[in-house]
């Protein structure tokens, strides 16, 4: 057989495969982007253009006033500050407590370790809704109601985060710890200088999940606060909907504003985020 023909065939097969792959990726990407596209274009539409059939993909006039209207519905400036403050402090706090607890469960020996860990895991099975009223009572009695303490302190630890990091820390060989300790390294130093750098993707995943969780937290904030000065962006977003209808164009304008910080965060941390997802199998 002609060798040129063979090369061409191989070349063709490889390119067809690649073309199909890109086509598939393009279609998947378009499907994923469609809601974002709809959100952004809707945020500029007239109320009457939102649900028009057949769909109107682009607004006739790009109305910035939807953003102004939405912004003025509630003190969104304050809401954004609170969302940031809550998300950043809970993320930092959770990462610290989770690393310490996960290390203890993964690498230390102490009485009742497994029982304690099982109890911790069991708390994951209790639906959050069931705990809402007892938590509300606790927060109120502690005098934290409608204060930052209520928004931050209960979220400084996470059983799920501990579980995730413990699994990751366990994959680090014990011999490494033994060698370090023989060389006079304390547990804390070993944790911060060896375990943490080795576990960066998993820690980033915990941090990002926490940041997103805090940024999107709705019910807890709504229940534990009363005043506008303590509320966050997701609470503000509910203002646009009622039982009988929704002001979609304003809701979408506010939603665009709400996801911008998350998008920026993702752009800066996407490498770690993707690594974390790949290694832990969680997204």
């Amino acid at each position: 057989m002609d060798s040129r023909y063979l090369i061409d065939k191989h070349f063709l097969r490889q390119h067809t495969y690649r073309l199909l792959l890109y086509l598939l990726l393009f279609v998947s990407c378009a499907i994923m982007l469609l809601p974002f596209f709809w959100m952004v274009t809707t945020s500029f539409k007239l109320e009457s253009e939102v649900l028009r059939m057949p769909p109107q993909w682009f607004p006739k006039d790009w109305l910035w006033r939807n953003y102004i209207k939405a912004w003025n519905v509630a003190p969104f400036g304050r809401y954004f500050f609170n969302s940031f403050f809550m998300a950043i402090t809970t993320t930092i706090g959770e990462v610290i407590t989770t690393i310490l607890a996960a290390y203890a469960f993964a690498k230390m020996r102490f009485f009742g370790k497994n029982v304690l860990f099982a109890i911790l895991l069991a708390t994951l099975m209790i639906p959050g809704q069931m705990l809402l009223i007892p938590n509300y009572v606790t927060i109120t009695r502690l005098g934290w109601f409608d204060r930052y303490e209520a928004l931050i302190i209960p979220w400084l630890a996470s059983v799920f985060g501990i579980f995730l990091l413990r699994q990751f820390f366990r994959s680090i060989p014990d011999e490494l710890q033994d060698a370090a300790r023989i060389d006079g390294c304390s547990r804390l130093r070993f944790l911060w200088q060896i375990v943490v750098p080795l576990s960066k993707p998993a820690i980033m995943t915990v941090a990002l999940l926490k940041f997103l969780g805090s940024w999107n937290a709705f019910l807890w904030v709504l229940i534990m606060t009363n005043s506008n000065k303590m509320r966050t962006v997701p609470v503000g977003l509910t203002l646009f909907s009622s039982e009988v209808g929704t002001a979609y164009e304003q809701l979408m304008a506010a939603s665009v504003l709400a996801i911008i910080p998350v998008l920026i965060l993702f752009f800066f941390t996407q490498k770690q985020f993707i690594q974390g997802v790949a290694r832990t199998g969680i997204k």
Binding site: T238, L239, G245
Partner: protein, 409 residues
């Protein structure tokens, strides 16, 4: 003057000043509500008017999310003891917490009480006392496309026939794209409860000891609903969305949805009409929806409770319930409001209000059973199953009745 007389006079003066001082003491009350951004400016306007009239009272209106969120928050606050002075409540939320409420009725005049629309008195009365008062009330009415329905149906039979006639495959692709009517059973089981009442049925008997939803009247109502199913778009979205997309020609929906339904019609380029719901075998009533106002008795000073009662009474005044209705798409909740010049001229210039007003004045309200939230969910499920053909009307009703029975225990 004798010294004892001076003493008495002095005491009287001191008491009078004391009373005046108490009356003028500044008092702050909180009002928890679930009104979205469209309604908040109107609510704030009413509150501002109230504060002008009672300058010593400050009302802090606090948005607490949707109705479900508000209910959760009220329940939690009752346990923790940090309730608001006044809040929006649904009838069934009140039943389990009535002992922590401060009844508004005893502080009202007989005229004020008698002025509340008849259909709303029972649903605000607990243990024979008017505890709460109606606030943002809407009524189920019949919406239709004027271009396709020149004469709206008056009876169930006409409704069914028209739904059948209007259902069409307009683009000949083998699937129906224009339905005569539409239902959203999961979100709006009140559409079925209308049929149930019109057939003379009820969910429970008078003293809540027996489930009656699957009796003969219940079956008649469900069979009628299912007879409409082939000509109905069964959806979970707002009816206004389907209306705008030319998917439905007529439907039963709350009057509070008028703004959105009309907006949909205008966008789609047709005119919308509003009439009473079609007449059933027994009556032509429909369900009143929306919340009432409750004043809390715990952790509030007497001055706060009095101020909250004053606010509730203020909101019931004809001019205020009319303002709230005109601006927010709700219905006035007192009889006197319907004969005010303002409302009559509003109705004269807003044709759709004629049907809504007529429907409201003989509407029926939600039952007060404490588990109504769960009962409503069961009804929604059975209604959906029947409409989607997953169960026969009898099966759906019997299954639902058994579930409701369990909720009564």
């Amino acid at each position: 003057m004798k010294s004892w007389k001076i003493g008495v006079l002095g005491l009287v003066v001191v008491l009078l000043f004391g009373l005046l001082a108490v009356a003028d003491d500044p008092v702050t009350i909180t009002f928890w509500h679930a009104m979205s951004s469209r309604h908040q400016p109107n609510l704030q306007k009413l509150i501002d008017d109230f504060m002008v009239e009672y300058p010593n009272i400050t009302v802090e209106a606090i948005y607490q999310g949707g109705y479900g969120d508000l209910q959760q928050k009220i329940n939690a606050a009752v346990v923790a003891g940090n309730v608001p002075a006044i809040a929006q409540v649904y009838e069934n939320w009140v039943t389990p917490i009535v002992e922590v409420l401060y009844p508004i009725g005893p502080a009202m005049t007989d005229e004020e009480k008698a002025d509340i629309i008849d259909g709303l008195v029972g649903s605000n009365t607990y243990n024979g006392i008017l505890y709460t008062v109606p606030f943002n009330k809407s009524i189920m009415v019949f919406y239709y496309r004027k271009d396709l329905v020149p004469t709206p149906p008056v009876t169930w039979e006409e409704y069914l026939q028209m739904a059948k006639d209007l259902t069409a495959d307009t683009n000949d692709d083998g699937t129906i794209d224009q339905f005569g009517t539409g239902f959203r059973p999961a979100a709006n089981p009140e559409q079925f409860l209308n049929f149930l009442d019109e057939a003379g049925g009820s969910i429970l008997n008078e003293d809540w000891t027996e489930v009656t939803i699957n009796n003969e009247a219940g079956l008649q109502a469900m069979e009628y609903a299912v007879s409409l199913a082939p000509y109905s778009l069964v959806t979970s979205s707002y009816m206004s969305d389907a209306f705008q997309a030319n998917q439905v020609c007529m439907f039963i929906d709350t009057s509070a949805g008028y703004y959105y339904n009309n907006q949909a019609a205008e966008t789609a380029g047709f005119e919308m009409g509003v009439v009473r719901v079609p007449m059933g075998p027994v009556n032509q009533r429909s369900m009143i929806q929306g919340t009432n106002l409750a004043v809390f008795d715990i952790n509030q000073t007497q001055a706060q409770k009095d101020a909250a009662v004053l606010l509730a009474r203020f909101l019931l005044r004809a001019e205020n319930t009319v303002f709230w209705a005109e601006k927010g798409g709700y219905q006035p909740v007192t009889k006197s409001a319907y004969v005010t010049e303002e409302w009559e001229s509003w109705v004269a210039t807003h044709e759709y209000q004629q049907a809504m007003s007529a429907q409201m004045l003989d509407g029926f309200a939600q039952i007060l059973h404490p588990n109504y939230g769960d009962i409503r969910y069961v009804i929604a499920t059975m209604f959906e199953e029947a409409m989607l053909g997953e169960a026969t009307p009898k099966e759906a009703l019997d299954n639902g009745a058994a579930e409701i029975e369990a909720l009564l225990e």
